[in-house]
């Protein structure tokens, strides 16, 4: 898509082309908002007495 020199690329273009950053985003975002938040929800349920 883009053959422009790095300096002339938009921020979005740089993000889209940085596959290692994409990998980090793809792991961190669902881990935080789905997994960790969900686990905390379950872990904080009071135990029955």
């Amino acid at each position: 898509m883009s053959n422009e020199p790095f300096e002339q690329q938009t921020v979005l273009q740089r993000i889209l082309d940085d596959i290692n950053f994409i990998m980090c985003l793809g792991l961190v975002v669902p881990t935080v908002f789905y997994t960790l938040w969900g686990v905390m929800e379950v872990a904080t349920i009071p135990l029955g007495k």
Binding site: M1, S2, N3, E4, L12, Q13, I15, L16, D17, I19, I22, M23, L25, G26, L27, V29, P30, T31, F33, Y34, T35, W37, G38, V39, E41, V42, A43, I45
Partner: protein, 565 residues
């Protein structure tokens, strides 16, 4: 991961002009053939399930029904699809970037681990003490080798993702491409990112469950299991969505010379998948107590809608790009001349377009609506849910994979497709049967028929239930559709295996089957009303109106069932 430095031999394919790494081609063939073999196994189990859930037939006794359902779920939803996806991950970068495959020995390790893992799990199920269905919810206990097989299979898939990633590094280092990755390779990259999250989630929950089955861990909290398992179970279907959308783009380019209407928009839509697609996992947990509405609604009704936006973008741009290409090639009259004159008898095309339609209208719309916490109460744990995911995974993903297979037979196996009239019919048989199946059982689910149940009438039990005739009809029609789909699937396996074993060799002077890029002439010469792709715009509006109507119909239905005063 080590990257081999040995140069692999290449050949130039006469049909496509693609430069193909022979090592990669062999691995693609092996993975694709294993995928088709497992599709046959999964489809056979699906036939047994359909013939049992068909009230008038009710074929299997309860124990065999749950065994068949477990085989069908694991093999059709995971094994067939992931083997095929690995084939795609090896084919797309090596062929489109003209580079060699990284670490072929690791790729063979992937083949071995996935095959052995699937076989071990299959043995565990067939031994009869692991009929825990695909979800294998604790505290239902399967044999230890059931979990061990799944873990080995997942490790193999993770190695496959690593080989793909290594191939991208090789292509970059050897400068086989410049600038951004081509969009189809980019789509595969996105699929591997989702796969890594998925497999890591599977490891987090399946390894402790394996230890629990060995007696080394005292217990697994069922609710914790469900939260983490669905990060694996549903995200694995999101890999499929990303992979089949990548195939849509690929086929549009190969068959029509179509280019995405806006590469930047399509890539941004893939970025939305990276950020938000996995949040859809929560729609399995919307009726679970203990989990807050804030978590449920944030994940589904807010974040997941951004992934839905991405799907709408892909659903608009793929047919839109085909329309633009067709119009530039002279089919510019009216709204739908470009569509009428598409190659409907070509299974590569028909599989792809049916995949787009079924995924959008059946799998997509119902997925959005059932992800609303309130509406989910109507259909949770009913047979509506299998109706939805057969619309996405069977109608969407499997059909797209079938279309790509028809394309790969002459390119990779260098054989012509046999029984061409039947091959032309096959996608319609599979897609038509699957659509009837999905729609009818969703009707039954809306009326309350439970999923995963051997006998919905509870015959002979203290609390038997007499379902109305409409429900019985939905179940019967649905399962007849399911049988038709299985016939279509079996026909696919027959044609693929027959073509590989008995197909005529592709002649050395065969004509290139890749459409040249559509003429990039002025935009003003095509389309109508200021739109380049007015037909696609109208179809997108039909989809949108259907979604809105279906959304409000479900809320109206909810209001009649759960009357508040």
């Amino acid at each position: 991961m080590a990257i081999t430095t040995a140069q692999s031999p290449f050949r130039t394919d006469p049909l496509t002009g693609l430069r193909i790494d022979l090592t990669a081609a062999t691995l693609v063939k092996v993975n694709a053939v294993l995928a088709v073999v497992f599709l046959l196994v999964g489809g056979t189990a699906g036939l047994l399930v359909a013939l049992t859930r068909w009230p008038a037939v009710h074929l299997l006794p309860a124990d065999l029904f749950y065994m068949a359902l477990t085989v069908h779920g694991i093999v059709a939803l995971m094994v067939w699809i992931i083997f095929f996806e690995i084939a795609v991950l090896y084919f797309v970068p090596t062929a489109l970037l003209s580079c060699r495959l990284a670490a072929p020995k690791m790729a063979w390790t992937q083949v071995a681990l996935m095959t052995i893992g699937a076989a071990i799990t299959a043995v565990a199920i067939l031994q009869g003490d692991s009929s825990v269905m695909m979800t294998s919810y604790v505290p239902m206990n399967a044999a230890p080798h059931f979990y061990l097989g799944l873990i080995l299979f997942a490790v193999g898939a993770l190695i496959g993702c690593g080989v793909f990633w290594g191939t991208l590094v090789i292509a970059k280092e050897e400068k086989t491409y410049e600038g951004s990755l081509p969009l189809t390779v980019y789509g595969c990259m996105v699929a591997t990112v989702i796969a890594v999250f998925t497999i890591a989630s599977g490891a987090i929950i399946l390894i402790p469950t394996f230890l629990w089955s060995l007696g080394l861990i005292k217990s697994i909290d069922p609710m914790m299991y469900r939260v983490i398992w669905w990060a694996f179970g549903h995200s694995s279907q999101q890999i499929n969505v990303t992979a089949h959308i990548t195939i849509w783009y690929t086929v549009a380019g190969l068959a029509f010379g179509a280019k995405p209407m806006s590469e930047k928009v399509s890539r941004t839509a893939f970025l939305l998948y990276i950020l938000f697609l996995q949040f859809g996992s929560v729609h399995h947990l919307l009726s679970d107590p203990g989990l807050s509405s804030a978590w449920k609604i944030f994940n589904t009704s807010y974040m997941m809608y951004l992934a839905v936006l991405a799907s709408l973008i892909h659903g608009l741009t793929v047919p839109g790009s085909i329309e633009v290409a067709q119009r530039r090639n002279g089919l510019n009259n009216g709204l739908f001349e470009w569509l009428r004159k598409c190659p409907w008898g070509n299974p590569v095309f028909s599989s792809t377009i049916l995949s787009i339609i079924i995924f959008g209208f059946i799998g997509g719309i119902t997925g959005v609506v059932m992800s609303v916490e309130q509406v989910n109460m109507i259909i949770h744990n009913t047979i509506y849910v299998p109706g939805h995911f057969h619309g996405t995974v069977a109608g969407g993903t499997t059909l797209a994979f079938m279309g790509l297979t028809y394309y790969l037979i002459p390119v990779l196996f260098q054989r012509q497709v046999i029984m061409k009239p039947l091959a032309a019919l096959q996608p319609w048989l599979f897609g038509g049967g699957m659509s009837v199946f999905a729609l009818a059982i969703m009707g039954a689910g809306t009326l309350g028929v439970p999923r995963r149940h051997w006998d919905i009438t509870f015959a002979g039990q203290a609390l038997g239930y007499e379902w109305p005739g409409l429900t019985q009809m939905f179940m019967a029609v649905g399962e007849i559709g399911g049988v038709i789909a299985v016939v279509g699937g079996a026909l696919f396996c027959l044609i693929v295996v027959g073509s590989i074993l008995m197909g005529e060799p592709v002649p050395a002077d065969a004509k290139n089957i890749v459409a040249p890029p559509a003429d990039a002439g002025g935009h003003k010469e095509i389309g109508a009303g200021g739109f380049e792709a007015p037909g696609t715009f109208v179809l997108a509006m039909v989809l949108f109106v259907t979604l809105v109507l279906y959304y409000f119909v479900n809320f109206k239905y909810l209001a009649t069932l759960w009357t508040l005063t």
